[in-house]
Amino acid sequence: MANSAAVMIAVDNDANAQSQSPEEWRQSLRMIEAMLFASAEALAAEDLASRLPEGADVAGLLADLKETYATRGVNLMQVAGKWAFRTAGDLKFLLAREAVEQRRLSRAALETLAIIAYHQPVTRADIEEIRGVATSTGTLDVLLESGWIRMRGRRKAPGRPITYGTTEAFLTHFGLDTVADLPGVDELKAAGLLDSRVPANFTIPEPGATEGLAPDEDPLDEADLLGDSTPR
């Protein structure tokens, strides 16, 4: 029974947690389980901690719970820096009837989304440079409307072009904890393919964090935030 492994680990964790008795540990696990199960949205560790007994080892409890559920039909996942129960990926065939209709992205939109995700912060010109095609306004609109990308700021460069990045909703939808978890991001970085320049001068930019601004980024102007979301 694969479950026994999880139980073993849980017991080990119990032994490690000096501040909580096994009974308290078990009760805290139950509480986290209940809160995460009840919510459709992911919950931050701090939110969970605020409802647990003072001094509870939330990180340890979550690790324990994740282990326990790893082999089950419902898994504990880290998405967008938060925690959530989700059905196991291999059981998707069972759940087709629960599926909500997905926004169908055109190939151009999907490619643009990938470029924004891996290269963020990027300007429209950056995207066009990578794709070798002009980006139609519609493509960025669709992505902005989906809530998966957002205007992050303005590049500190002539014309102060708007920079784009991904959102928390993007991470949640694609089941990513952070943009550093994008598939193959490390290999791409190592190959210099996330660089905006030829690999001759080999500086590899990190795909910037989704929060905060890059060193060459300014915050958005007030007008950017007020006006319609479509950049000219």
Partner: protein, 280 residues
């Protein structure tokens, strides 16, 4: 890498049609690539590179340039219109080819043919990497399609609770102020019970013609003196009104000494002297 000016996405359609024609018309072509359409010259180059069936990283840029140029030539021979950026790319590749074929001495300023080729290879690799990334992203287990959150989340019941605050000082100040205001308000209401001069005149006028004998004012006004607080007001107003009526020649007044009862009667034509006494 400025050679490939971006082409609009509408133009792709034209190219796609062109390609479809080409595909049908030239089945012997070595360049049969089965794709929906090209998104610009870079996309076309990438597809051509893929058709070489080798790792893009080790592609021969020279061979690729030849392929592209041959392909463009083919389309032109079919007299199909080509978007400008495809032609610009063709010109640029022809230039690149010449730089690669003719050994050159680097002057340190201009990039060498190898550098230009490397830059193109990089762009192709990067575009391909992004294509792959997009596919991997699209094929991830996506929320609401492949993996699911709780279908029947249990709502968090939020009970609103108001907590009121007030100090003892607030309380006492409110009480004292209110009681004090009310105490003053009683006086104000009392003032409202004034018998106006007009009321008095109205009452007296109705009596004119019916008071032949000297009659004490108090007796005439007795119906109005009933309410306790009104006495002063009635007396004062009746006196005032009676003076007006005397001046108008309708009544006569008589008072024997200060604060003595005031007598009233209708004015008789002979009673001219009596009116002098009305000065109480």
């Amino acid at each position: 890498m400025t050679a490939a000016a971006p082409t609009s996405e509408q133009d792709q359609e034209k190219i796609w049609e062109a390609y479809a024609v080409l595909d049908r018309g030239a089945s012997d072509s070595a360049l049969v690539v089965d794709v929906d359409g090209f998104e610009g010259p870079l996309d076309l180059l990438l597809e051509l590179a893929r058709s070489q069936k080798v790792d893009i990283a080790r592609i021969s840029i020279l061979a690729l340039a030849d392929q592209y140029l041959a392909y463009i030539e083919k389309i032109r021979s079919l007299r199909l219109e080509l978007a400008a950026d495809y032609l610009v790319m063709a010109a640029w590749l022809a230039y690149l080819k010449s730089r690669l074929l003719i050994p050159e001495v680097s002057d340190g300023e201009e990039p060498t043919g190898e550098e230009l080729a490397a830059a193109l290879a990089f762009r192709l690799q990067r575009l391909e990497a992004m294509r792959d990334a997009a596919a991997r992203l699209a094929n991830r287990d996506r929320l609401g399609r492949d993996i699911f959150s709780r279908g029947d989340p249990e709502p968090v019941a939020i009970t609103r609770k108001n907590e009121y605050s007030a100090t003892l000082h607030d309380l006492l100040a409110a009480y004292a102020t209110q009681r004090q205001e009310k105490a003053i308000a009683v006086v104000t209401i009392g003032a409202r019970a004034v018998w106006s001069l007009q009321d008095a005149r109205h009452a007296l006028t109705r009596l004119v013609g019916h008071v032949a004998e000297w009659t004490p004012m108090e007796v005439l006004m007795s119906p109005y003196l009933s309410s306790l607080g009104m006495r002063r007001s009635v007396t004062a107003s009746a006196f005032g009104a009676s003076l007006e009526l005397v001046r108008e020649g309708k009544l006569e007044l008589r008072q024997t000494e200060p604060f003595a009862p005031l007598y009233v009667r209708d004015r008789t034509p002979l009673a001219l002297v009596s009116s002098e006494t009305g000065n109480g």
